[in-house]
């Protein structure tokens, strides 16, 4: 077989020779970005809850000191990890920890990579979630307070579910950003999709064809993730219809009300 001569010929050729490596790279990209984003989201939630703990005039001085200290630490965390590029964070964390003996050569690199993506994402998520919390009507928190819920309970049961629903588009953004930005992890020897593409391009010296394949793969990944998130959004909204219960004796008298014919 001669070397192919046209664009599609090369694409087919590259897929046949490098197909399994593209797949492996894609798998690694997905693993790191998905897991990292989810954990980052949880970190962001935790940070948001901690930062919004209220102080009343009854809060003791040591508690106030603790709260202020914690706020300072969390703010520093957010500023540092938003303010530095993830590629720098990756090198500093991985090679720094290696130098300090915190991790060893046998430490699975994907674990460290997920850790890096998580804390990086967490910093962004904390601010996104803070925006979502601000957008939730204050009355919701007041009603939760009036019923006797603690700060944690009102956040977890009332405020955060609504905040998260509001910020789903931003969360989708973070997923997409992470899928693409995971490529910088090749500096700590992660064989993700972009690094694999560089290998293919460097071996076969076909720029357009290789990166056309890569672009299509990235697009499929991000498109799928955003579609799934839209589904989750719709699920969070609940059904557009509800059933008015009929009387005890006659279930047939149940009426289903749809969004369009509700009263008032």
């Amino acid at each position: 077989m001669q070397l192919p001569s046209d664009f599609f010929g090369w694409v087919g050729f590259l897929l046949s020779k490098y197909g399994s490596l593209f797949l492996q790279g894609t798998g690694m990209t997905l693993l790191i970005s998905l897991t990292g984003t989810v954990i980052g989201f949880l970190i962001g939630l935790l940070v948001a809850i901690l930062r919004t703990v209220p102080t009343t005039r009854r809060t003791s001085l040591p508690m106030r000191g603790l709260k202020t200290g914690m706020n300072v630490l969390l703010s520093a965390y957010i500023e540092v990890f938003r303010g530095t590029p993830m590629i720098v964070q990756a090198m500093v964390i991985y090679y720094g920890a290696m130098q300090a003996g915190i991790i060893g050569r046998g430490t699975p690199i994907p674990v460290v990579a997920i850790f890096i993506v998580s804390i990086n994402t967490g910093a962004y998520m904390a601010e996104i979630i803070r925006g979502g919390i601000i957008s939730v009507d204050n009355g919701q928190k007041e009603a939760a307070h009036a019923i006797g819920m603690t700060h944690w309970q009102s956040m977890v049961n009332v405020v955060l579910p609504q905040a998260v629903r509001n910020i789903m588009p931003s969360i989708g953004n973070e997923f997409v950003v992470n899928i693409k930005d995971s490529s910088v992890l090749n500096v700590i020897a992660v064989s993700e999709l972009f690094f694999m593409s560089k290998s293919a391009a460097g071996t076969y010296l076909r720029y357009f064809e290789v990166f056309a394949i890569t672009a299509v793969i990235y697009f499929i990944l991000t498109f799928t993730v955003t579609r799934i998130l839209r589904l989750i959004e719709r699920k969070m909204d609940g059904s557009g219809t509800y059933t008015i219960l009929g009387s005890q004796t006659d279930s047939q008298s149940a009426i289903t009300v749809t969004e369009s014919n509700k009263e008032g």
């Binding site: 492996q24 090679y95 460097g202």
Partner: protein, 270 residues
């Protein structure tokens, strides 16, 4: 959440400690993206070494040198595929033992890394279009007025100034990018090392490269056109590796390079 992360790290540390016990491993870092020095392929062969982490197999001149070194040191070879900018911190932090990645022992690099003796010395050529104005050039002067570029952050870019009256264009990121630029006419030629140029022109038969006879080509320092093994400052592997390299003479090296070039996926597309 932070608790879970620290537990994970602690576990990882345990795994790390236990496998560091496997003393006889030589971890070598390279990009595996630059045929015929080092590349990645999907299928194993008698010559390949599996890439750590399971993403393909590495082969190329650098891999073969690494094999000989590991054999000579009595250690198992592990190839850690890492992007170029991550290689120096990898070796200084101890994540890998050596860099065998077509890296030249420049003065700047010697500030942070120790280098062995060269394991390959190459010549600089200019890649041009076969039907272009410069296809018949034989000396640097023949390139007067040509639009020439080279790869970013390499000494290739500095030697362009040796061409009298050259039109030096901004450096470009990679060889595939320069091939595209050449084919589209954006540039008249780019600087490459001979093995790389052989690869480039095999993949793109509309290109050829100009090699210069003794005295008619670029003036370069030994450090610039050779590549050596980079190690952490103070590494005690420098002397043993030099001893092994001394046992591989120039003819053998040239043959190894020819073999690697013949083996690279482009040449063997069957």
């Amino acid at each position: 959440m932070k608790k879970i992360v620290s537990i994970l790290l602690a576990l990882a540390m345990l795994i790390g400690v236990s496998s560091a016990m496997a003393e006889g491993t030589l971890r070598v870092g390279m990009e595996c993206n630059y045929a015929p020095f080092n590349w990645t392929q999907a299928e194993p062969s008698d010559f390949t070494v599996p890439i750590d982490g399971g993403a393909g197999y590495a082969d190329g001149y650098d891999v073969q040198i690494a094999k000989k070194i590991a054999e000579g040191l009595g250690m198992d070879l592990v190839i850690v595929k890492t992007e170029w900018d991550g290689l120096p911190p990898a070796v200084t932090s101890g994540a890998i033992d050596a860099i065998i990645a077509g890296m030249s022992p420049t003065e700047e690099r010697k500030a942070t890394l120790d280098f062995t003796d060269p394991y390959y010395t190459s010549e600089l050529v200019v890649v041009v279009k076969k039907d272009g104005a410069f296809a018949a050039a034989t000396s640097l002067a023949d390139f007067t007025g040509a639009a020439i570029t080279a790869q970013l952050n390499t000494f290739h870019y500095t030697v362009i100034d040796q061409i009298p009256g050259v039109n030096k264009l901004p450096a470009m990121e990679s060889f595939p990018a320069m091939i595209v630029a050449l084919q589209s006419g954006a540039i008249d030629g780019y600087i490459a090392e001979r093995p790389g140029a052989v690869a480039d022109t095999t993949a793109n038969p509309d290109l050829t490269f100009i090699k210069f006879d003794e005295g008619k080509g670029f003036t370069t320092s030994e450090a610039d056109v050779s590549v050596a093994v980079a190690l952490n400052k103070g590494s005690d592997l420098v002397a043993p590796i030099n001893a092994i390299l001394a046992g591989i003479d120039t003819d053998t090296r040239n043959q190894m390079m020819l073999d690697a070039t013949a083996r690279q996926p482009l040449s063997t597309a069957e």
